[in-house]
């Protein structure tokens, strides 16, 4: 159990450092064990440093920076031990347009090893989807589904 945990941790650590730098297009981040001698109980430390910034407490990061760092962690766990499918409900809400596009690009790359179902309001993420469904309540209170072509998105949202 302890060996397995340590082995997984070290693999995720390597992925996280790489994916963070990809998503932020720079900067650096590390995962560290708080107490290497106690593998059964040790907590995990996250140090993240967006490009051009000093290393700071996670709590001082902005809403969008935290969401992108959390996404980097999820993606690094996926790389080490992929679940067959992922459901992401408006994960992109705190991101600005530039970060939405980076997120969508990454999703595209990872969709070769895992399946994604993404709920979103952002055009950048919609553009990455292979198929789009619109959920509506033409009859109030009752959900219906429309299958959309990716290029119909513009007129749908309003």
């Amino acid at each position: 159990m302890e060996e397995k945990f340590l082995e997984t941790f070290n693999q995720v650590k390597v992925e996280f450092e790489k994916i963070f730098t990809d998503l932020f297009e720079g900067g650096q981040a590390q995962l560290a064990l708080e107490d290497e001698d106690d593998l059964l109980e040790t907590g995990i430390e996250i140090n993240a440093q967006p490009p051009g910034k000093k290393l700071q407490k996670l709590s001082l990061m902005s809403g969008g920076e935290k969401a992108l760092t959390a996404t980097a962690l999820i993606f690094s766990l996926l790389k080490v031990n992929p679940s067959p499918f992922y459901v992401l409900d408006e994960l992109d809400a705190p991101l600005d347009d530039a970060n939405v596009n980076r997120f969508a690009n990454y999703l595209n790359q990872l969709s070769e090893i895992a399946q994604f179902i993404v709920i979103t309001h952002r055009k950048g993420t919609m553009a990455a989807a292979n198929a789009l469904y619109g959920v509506t309540m033409q009859e109030s209170g009752v959900s219906q589904l429309l299958s959309l072509k990716v290029d119909e998105v513009g007129d749908y949202e309003e």
Partner: protein, 165 residues
């Protein structure tokens, strides 16, 4: 293995039967506020065995059954089926396609199904045991919950790594 489709009837705002076909890569779900997008994510959690009404944003499990609308009466049954492509044999069952089902009535009777045979929740859990799928797995990230993944407390974080191990 991947999700082929989900069929939802009588679950939350889905009074009429709705089927969503999923792509093997990326399926996008869009729509206005309150239209029922997150209810689809709740339906996936539920059919996979979610036991907590609070995680499904309700008070008691009965809250997942269509409660009526301006023009429609409440229904008495919620039913969700999830169809999985198992051509790669990732699920330890001898079918190329596996259908998981869950039903609940207002009187509280609830049952699970695998390929149309009723079974227990335990059977569903065993089926998914080594796949990383299950209601607690970090593979379903709820609305507004992305930051919670980083969690304030460093010891809580280890849960993510233990699940992935």
């Amino acid at each position: 293995m991947f999700l082929k489709s989900i069929t939802i009837k009588g679950f939350k705002s889905f009074a009429d039967r709705v089927k969503v076909d999923f792509e093997p890569a990326i399926t996008g779900i869009i729509g206005p506020n309150g239209s029922g997008k997150s209810n689809i994510s709740d339906a996936i959690r539920w059919v996979l065995g979610e036991q907590s009404a609070k995680t499904l944003r309700g008070g008691k499990m009965e809250d997942v059954i269509f409660a009526g609308s301006g023009k429609r009466r409440a229904l008495g049954l919620a039913e969700v089926t999830l169809t999985l492509d198992n051509r790669d044999g990732a699920l330890p069952i001898d079918y190329k396609e596996v259908i998981i089902g869950r039903r609940v009535t207002r009187s509280g009777e609830s049952d699970y199904l695998i390929n149309n045979n009723t079974c227990r929740l335990k059977d569903i859990k065993e089926l998914f045991m080594d796949t990383g799928i299950g209601k607690d797995a970090y593979s379903i990230i709820g609305q507004g919950k992305v930051e919670a993944i980083l969690s304030e407390n460093s010891v809580d974080r280890r849960e993510l790594f233990e699940e992935a191990a």
